[in-house]
């Protein structure tokens, strides 16, 4: 087979169609199959903003992008080699994601008059026919017709037959990329176990698609992407939101603290609530509150009671938590606040990704209200980053901001998951009952300046806390001017000391000193990594540094930054981390912005790197 194939080190496919076309399932199946084959892989779905927009419209287009390779893959976000479209709207919405000279596989039946109209092509214009796609290689399929032909006599209704048509496409794509349909066959058998006729139909269509490739006389160039040399180990596919959920459960298990989530649904954070609510057998308690304020304040109540308390939200919902975050800072109770960022401001672009809530996380509260801020950098990294957020919250007695975003939340990658036993321990700072006659001092601190956690039920530790300024150690209300200044600085110093318990910053890639440093945070990781790798390969003196801990920074960050002539900071916002860097270190760091609700491609970053030489 492979003899007819060109060998590629990586390939990117974008499946697109109507939300009813089964695009996400198709993508998932290709992902698992190619991961099982041994490729490194990274994926990103692109859901329509509408609940279920009318069939065939631009608003109803659903996409799934997958990049896989025989080398390490860091981002799904680049332009694709192959665009598979089920209808005209899918083509229109995604053509700008295709590489020049790339390939299009189009279901012609999705380009009839009705579909063209719904996709808002001018009357009489069919892009498949008018030569407008001449820069690309276009292959058309009659998917519906072929599916119907395959299932003739199966006894299934038209609707049910129609629902299998994604399998035809998947089979065909398996053939092009030299992947076998075995895994998917098993999946189908399990999923429809109760309906053998459906199992049979799907498998039949899947195989038909595959065989269509073999038997048809299309001049299709097949592609082979060899297995990657990946670190040996056991892997699973991991998406950002579930990774966050699992990270929280792991922190709960390792700390011995029961997990409480107070949350109010919001895109793209809701899936963390959904996922956690399925793990009650870990003692996970999820409370769907009446609003975001109740979500966080119920979590504060649970934290007071000794739970590992968490609240999840996005954009407008995080804004609503502002006042209560201030309370948590004053109470000095552990609390993890998860912001799965989306496009803003206001309601903004709820289903799109952005990194524009960083300044809010770092500075957006009344009064001097510092707290640690931690950002995940890849889907699977959400696990480790949120685990760290929990550790810091619990051990340093403070609320912690954990930043994810829509891209991480829904993106996926293979994950060499850890053993439970290998996870860092998390040690709650419980106050112990005192000897008779001693008074408990709720705001007395340890060397980290953390205060002890005295939870109701323990005799002798009865105490009252609140949002008014407190006297040092006793925690009594204090209006004393000097005490206030002392406490403001103490709270700041407590957060600064978190730097003692986090790893030093490392260079991800590139030379330790050099001309250009690309400084990133959050979900731009993959795109920057890919771009810097390319640039280094091309001989440029450029390195990549990615900060996970933004407040406080690792202690050596400044000295790293000073090792380069130029620091550039790509962000999916109008320049936020770059402001903090400039202020803190007086380094003339330059921001690179992309504020389009979609991730950077590595080429965009590469261009910026190169422009500095």
């Amino acid at each position: 087979m492979e003899n007819n194939s060109v060998i590629a080190t990586e390939a990117t496919i974008l499946f697109a169609g109507d939300s009813g076309d089964g695009i996400q399932l198709t993508g998932d199946q290709f992902t698992t199959t190619t991961a099982l084959f041994g490729n490194d892989v990274s994926t990103f779905p692109n859901f329509p903003a509408e609940i279920r927009a009318p069939q065939g419209t631009l608003a109803g287009v659903s996409g799934f992008q997958i990049k896989f390779g025989s080398q390490e893959i860091y981002t799904p976000g680049d332009l694709c080699d192959l665009l598979v479209v089920m209808n005209a709207a899918a083509l229109k919405a995604n053509l700008n994601q295709l590489k020049p000279g790339g390939m299009i596989i189009a279901n012609v039946e999705g380009f009839d008059a009705k579909n063209l109209r719904l996709a808002k092509f001018p009357d009489g214009v069919n892009p498949l026919e008018n030569g407008s796609l001449s820069d690309f290689k276009v292959y058309t399929l009659e998917v519906t017709k072929m599916t119907k032909a395959t299932l003739e006599g199966s006894g299934l209704g038209t609707k049910e037959i129609d629902r299998t048509k994604n399998m035809f496409v998947l089979g065909y794509i398996f053939w092009i990329y030299n992947r076998t349909p075995e895994h998917t066959i098993k999946f189908i058998e399990q999923k429809f176990a109760k309906r053998p006729e459906i199992v049979e139909a799907n498998i039949k269509t899947l195989k038909a698609g595959y065989h269509f490739g073999e038997t048809s006389e299309t001049f299709m160039q097949r592609v082979q992407v060899k297995p990657a040399t990946i670190e040996p180990g056991i892997y699973r596919n991991m998406t950002g939101n579930p990774a966050t959920a699992i990270g929280l459960i792991a922190a709960s298990e390792k700390s011995g603290l029961p997990l409480f989530l107070g949350s109010y649904p919001i895109t793209p954070a809701s899936d963390i609530l959904h996922e956690l609510s399925r793990h009650k057998n870990f003692g996970v308690r999820t409370f769907q509150a009446e609003d975001e304020i109740a979500a966080i304040t119920s979590a504060i109540g649970a934290a007071f009671g000794g739970s590992l308390a968490v609240t999840t939200s996005s954009g407008p919902g995080i804004a609503l938590k502002t006042e209560a975050i201030g309370l948590a800072i004053m109470l000095e109770l552990p609390l993890v606040i998860i912001n799965v960022q989306r496009g803003g401001p206001s309601t903004g672009l709820p289903t799109k990704t952005e990194q524009a809530d960083l300044m809010q996380a770092v500075y957006g509260r009344n009064g001097e209200a510092p707290m640690p801020v931690i950002a995940a950098q890849t889907p699977a990294d959400c696990f480790f980053a949120v685990y760290e957020a929990c550790r810091i919250a619990v051990e340093h007695s403070t609320p912690v901001f954990f930043l994810s975003d829509g891209f991480l939340a829904n993106g996926a990658e293979p994950w060499k998951f850890p053993n439970a036993a290998d996870l860092k321990p998390i040690n709650p700072n419980f106050a112990e009952p005192l000897p008779e006659g001693e008074t408990f001092l709720p705001y007395k601190r340890d060397e980290k300046l953390a205060r002890k956690w005295a939870i109701p039920g323990v005799k002798g530790l009865e105490h009252r806390i609140g949002g008014l300024e407190k006297e040092n150690e006793t925690g009594s209300i204090s209006y004393d001017p000097d005490n206030h200044e002392f406490m403001v600085k103490l709270r700041a110093e407590k957060i600064a000391r978190v730097a003692d318990s986090i790893p030093l910053q490392t260079i991800d890639n590139g030379p330790e000193k050099g001309k250009v440093l690309v400084l990133g945070w959050g979900s731009t990781y993959g795109a920057i990594k890919t771009a810097v790798k390319k640039a280094v390969d091309q001989g440029y003196s450029v390195a990549h540094c990615h900060v996970r801990y933004i407040m406080p920074f690792p202690k050596n960050l400044e000295s790293i930054l000073r090792n380069y002539d130029t620091v550039i900071v790509p962000e999916m916002n109008n320049g936020q981390l770059v402001k903090i860097i400039r202020d803190k270190f007086l380094i003339d760091a330059k921001g690179i912005s992309k504020i389009k609700g979609i991730p950077f491609t590595s080429d965009e970053i590469l261009k910026h790197i190169v422009s500095n030489f």
Partner: protein
């Protein structure tokens, strides 16, 4: 860390006094409430460390600082939500919410009604002084319309909430009213509230002698109290007035004040705590005292209902899930169901 404490250690009202100076205005009705709570709490068969007082912001919300138990002075309007999280996760604790008319009915109205429908087993003491005390005298959602205050020099425009009617509308399961100046009654009501297995709402008429002095004087003053108040007791006819000379009967759905010299006590409406419709009528006894004839204001337990408590099922689901799926195994969770090996 185990915090369960089974052995009960008796304590007294004095043990509940903290080292903080009580900072309400001299003469404030809050003092009496503090006193009654400190008197009642030792009689409830609880250990001090099992008790938590949670408040919002307001004069009334200073309360937890004066109770030598666990406590939190949270933020304005959110005590109910904080308490929900605590009670959900620590159902064995005795949780008391202290709140004002502004705290619970203005900014905190939403959490208040949601807590009630969820029926967490907490006791809510709503200090109703019909004014914002701490911010020095603006009208509140319970102030009568037309009230002249700092923010309403020409009289307030808002039609006030009827707090107990709102509580019934939100499916509250224990609804009661008492007053700062009747310590014995207050203590009785507090004890009943504590016994109720669900959200117990006790509205306490509380005099703010600085910004709304005398708001409840007709009900609390010895001279007028008998004629203007009706203390209801389950199974007892609705009798009030000087020497119990008056009663209430129902003319269809309409309550009427009658003279017991002219009517038999047997004709009177007999209080039934389990009747939500009639409790609803009692909450609407809100006549102007100046109109004649007028209904007296009602005190006591209006309504009691048994309904499942949120925290019970919340924690039952955890237990059920463990029973069905086995206690969660972290390594299994980490690996998931679909893995592959790279060699």
């Amino acid at each position: 860390m185990s915090t369960t404490q089974t052995e009960k250690v008796p304590f007294t009202a004095k043990d509940l006094v903290t080292d903080q100076d009580v900072r309400w205005c001299p003469g404030c009705g809050d003092y009496s409430i503090l006193k009654q709570v400190q008197t009642v709490v030792p009689e409830l068969g609880l250990n001090r460390e099992e008790i938590v007082f949670i408040s919002g912001i307001g004069c009334s919300s200073r309360f937890p600082y004066y109770m030598e138990t666990y406590g939190m002075h949270s933020i304005h309007g959110r005590a109910t939500a904080v308490a929900s999280g605590l009670k959900a996760t620590r159902p064995e604790l005795s949780v008391w919410i202290i709140t004002g008319d502004g705290d619970s009915l203005s900014i905190g109205g939403n959490h208040f009604i949601h807590l009630l429908r969820r029926n967490f087993d907490v006791n809510i003491l709503l200090f109703n002084n019909e004014i914002y005390g701490l911010t020095k005298g603006q009208y509140s959602p319970t102030s009568e319309s037309g009230k002249v205050t700092k923010s309403t020099p020409m009289g307030s425009i808002d039609h006030p909430f009827n707090p107990l009617a709102l509580v019934l509308g939100a499916d509250g399961t224990f609804v009661a009213r008492t007053m700062d100046r009747d310590p014995i009654h207050m203590r009785e009501v507090l004890k009943r509230a504590n016994l109720h297995k669900g959200s117990s709402l006790v509205e306490i008429y509380q005099n703010c002698n600085v910004f709304n002095d005398g708001a409840f004087e007709v009900f609390t003053d010895k001279k007028t109290k008998a004629a203007e108040t009706l203390f209801v007791e389950n199974g007892k006819p609705l009798v009030f007035g000087n020497d119990g000379n008056k009663g209430i009967l129902l003319d269809g759905f309409v309550p009427k004040v009658v003279d017991l010299n002219e009517h038999s006590i047997n004709d009177l409406w007999v209080h039934d705590e389990r009747d939500r419709v009639k409790a609803g009528i009692l909450t609407r006894f809100f006549d102007e005292v100046t109109s004649e004839p007028h209904l007296p204001r009602v005190f006591g337990v209006f309504y009691v209902e048994d309904r499942f408590r949120y925290e019970d099922i919340f924690n039952q689901q955890i237990a059920d899930s463990i029973r069905l799926k086995g206690k969660g195994n972290l390594d299994k969770l980490l690996s998931g169901n679909n893995t592959w090996e790279v060699k």
